[in-house]
């Protein structure tokens, strides 16, 4: 018979009075349910620890939400310690109630639930956005040419970053392919021939991830010539701006003021007191090493 009533039928929760010692829920139960304690007291017992008491549930508290809404496994046995009154909300009851809710309220419940799930997942997940860049950064701190055991290196990196070993292994293989790490012996060991190059590679990957221009690969031909010449100078050589520009000129390296400003942006010079600019040889060498290894860094190994 068609009644014309389109409202979903509400299935009410079950009210139960239970005696002391009654087990209201256990991990073996097939049907998932939420138990709301109205009166009395329940104990949560851990069956994996000889039914050790884990916590007490007092009136007004409820258990089993994760099991019913998130399908999480039930971990404890819930047993009444005294005569108690409980409300049981099972699958059908919850489903009928959720169907009767306004759509937005249902969305609120789902959003909170899924946000919590995502947070819990992120606790267990890797702590880095780019495992390759992260491993490269880790390896830049290793000593040049020291024999390192690959497995130990990976375990340490995985411990620091919570990166899964298979992911870390893939990243390690990439660094070997790019000749930034060199396998030794039967391949269980490796060395880092140029630790600074790994730092440069990591910086390059991070700038790519952020869609930022990476200056070492954006230099003009003239800037490259200046860079090579600067690398032959003594560290900390200091001059004022016009003296530097004149010096370039003397060495047939004519540069514009814009070039000069860019070089400061590249940090090839550090401004000192009295408007002097000291050569930052570490930065110059950084750019030079990046240019010398451009194919490896970009992934087009010769």
């Amino acid at each position: 018979m068609i009644t014309g009533n389109s409202q979903p039928r509400l299935i009410p929760p079950t009210q139960l009075r239970v005696k002391a010692g009654f087990v209201v829920s256990s991990p073996q139960d097939e049907d998932k349910k939420i138990i709301l304690l109205n009166e009395g007291e329940l104990l949560a017992l851990d069956p994996k620890a000889n039914n050790k008491v884990v916590f007490r549930i007092l009136p007004g508290n409820l258990v089993g939400v994760g099991a019913l809404l998130e399908r999480e496994p039930v971990r404890y046995i819930f047993q009444a310690t005294v005569d108690s009154t409980i409300t049981i909300i099972n699958d059908e009851c919850m489903e009928s109630e959720l169907k009767s809710l306004p759509v937005w309220l249902l969305a609120v419940i789902r959003a909170i639930s899924s946000k919590t799930r995502r947070i819990n997942e992120s606790i267990r997940s890797t702590k880095t956005d780019n495992p390759l860049a992260s491993l490269a950064s880790f390896c830049k701190y290793q000593s040049k040419d020291e024999i390192l055991q690959s497995q130990t290196l990976l375990q340490e990196f995985a411990w620091l970053t919570k990166t899964p070993i298979p992911t870390a292994t893939e990243a390690l293989k990439t660094l070997i392919r790019r000749k930034m790490l060199v396998p030794q012996g039967d391949g269980t060991a490796l060395t880092v021939p140029e630790p600074q190059l790994l730092g440069i590679f990591s910086d390059f990957l991070k700038s790519q991830d952020q869609d930022l221009p990476w200056h070492p690969f954006k230099l003009s031909l003239q800037q490259k010539k200046v860079l090579v010449w600067l690398s032959t100078l003594e560290a900390d050589t200091a001059k004022d701006g016009s003296a530097w520009i004149n010096l370039f000129k003397e060495h047939n390296l004519e540069i514009s003021v814009a070039d000069w400003l860019q070089m400061q942006q590249f940090e090839w010079f550090t401004e000192q007191e009295n408007h002097l600019f000291a050569l930052n040889i570490d930065k110059v060498n950084y750019y030079l090493l990046a240019l010398q290894n451009e194919p490896n860094i970009k992934g087009t190994v010769k």
Partner: protein, 296 residues
């Protein structure tokens, strides 16, 4: 509610006490972690946000702006409260349970990020060459291993300062005891990778003997050609007796220290040790048991 392109709906840190459902258009949500503005997500038609603001009165984690003209349904707290009045009491309990669980998850994540970043910070401090390191450098390097915010990194550095391993300055950190930072890192690494206690962690008896050695060496130590400090066996026995409430030093007591090469027996009835190494090891054994409590 209609939002024009470029208009801001709500700001990070503000509490609109509302829940939003995007009907049409796209909004961008950006979060700011100190200096860096990072776009985290887009909200398109059907997306929802603001649930914790509605239910628990929490401020928003992000700033939401319209990328294009948008239509948004806004559920204010008054409607939420009126609707909940009509619902069975147990539904309110479930909602409050879910909210509480969300808070617990957030706190667990904060703690987990904090604790897991600690070894990475030690690793970086043990590897960087300079004694004075800018906070920016530390934060940039740490970002390779962890997503810890600058504020939380500063808190971790504060713990290291409490142990006198570093000294915090306005915009930099002075590394006060790099060898101790290194052995602390190695000790944690050993525990994590080999699932066992590092040999750096000494028994109480070993600690007591080494403490007695240090005290005796301060009074009567002799610097040897190899850089070690030596004391006579009598001086060590006498100091151990004083420090360990009358306990006699036996060859057996010394065995593990000799095996670990923390003490060396010399030919002239003396015991010698690398004094700085002993001091750092004793300090490690003092701070190691306090670490977990400090981090939590």
């Amino acid at each position: 509610m209609i939002l024009k392109e470029g208009e801001t709906l709500c700001l990070q840190g503000n509490n609109p006490h509302s829940f939003y459902i995007v009907k049409s258009g796209t909004l961008s949500a950006t979060t700011k972690d100190e200096q860096n503005g990072v776009q985290i997500q887009n909200f398109g038609p059907g997306s929802t946000f603001g649930e914790m603001s509605l239910v628990a009165g929490e401020p928003l984690d992000y700033t939401v702006c319209a990328e294009e003209d948008c239509e948004i349904e806004v559920i204010p707290q008054s409607i939420f409260h009126d609707t909940m009045k009509e619902q069975p009491i147990w539904l309110k309990s479930i909602l409050s349970f879910l909210t509480q669980r969300n808070h617990i998850a957030k706190e667990n994540k904060r703690k987990s990020d904090f604790i897991t970043a600690f070894p990475s910070l030690l690793f970086i401090l043990s590897k960087l060459q300079n004694k004075i390191i800018s906070l920016d450098t530390i934060q940039n390097e740490l970002r390779n291993f962890s997503r810890l915010s600058a504020i939380e990194t500063y808190k971790l550095l504060g713990i290291l300062q409490d142990f006198k391993l570093v000294r915090l300055q306005a915009e930099s950190v002075s590394v006060e005891n790099k060898p101790l930072i290194t052995i602390l890192y190695e000790t944690l690494r050993h525990r994590a990778i080999y699932k066992s206690t590092s040999s750096n962690i000494l028994s109480l008896t070993d600690q007591a003997i080494l403490t007695a050695f240090v005290k005796a060496a301060c009074d009567k130590g002799e610097l040897q050609a190899d850089g070690r400090v030596a004391i006579t066996t009598e001086a060590l026995i006498a100091q151990t007796k004083r420090s360990m409430h009358g306990m006699s030093l036996t060859p057996r007591n010394l065995e593990s220290l000799l095996q670990k090469q923390l003490l060396f027996a010399t030919q002239s009835e003396k015991y010698a040790a690398d004094f700085d190494k002993l001091l750092n090891l004793l300090e490690l054994n003092r701070i190691y048991p306090q670490l977990d409590k400090k981090l939590l």
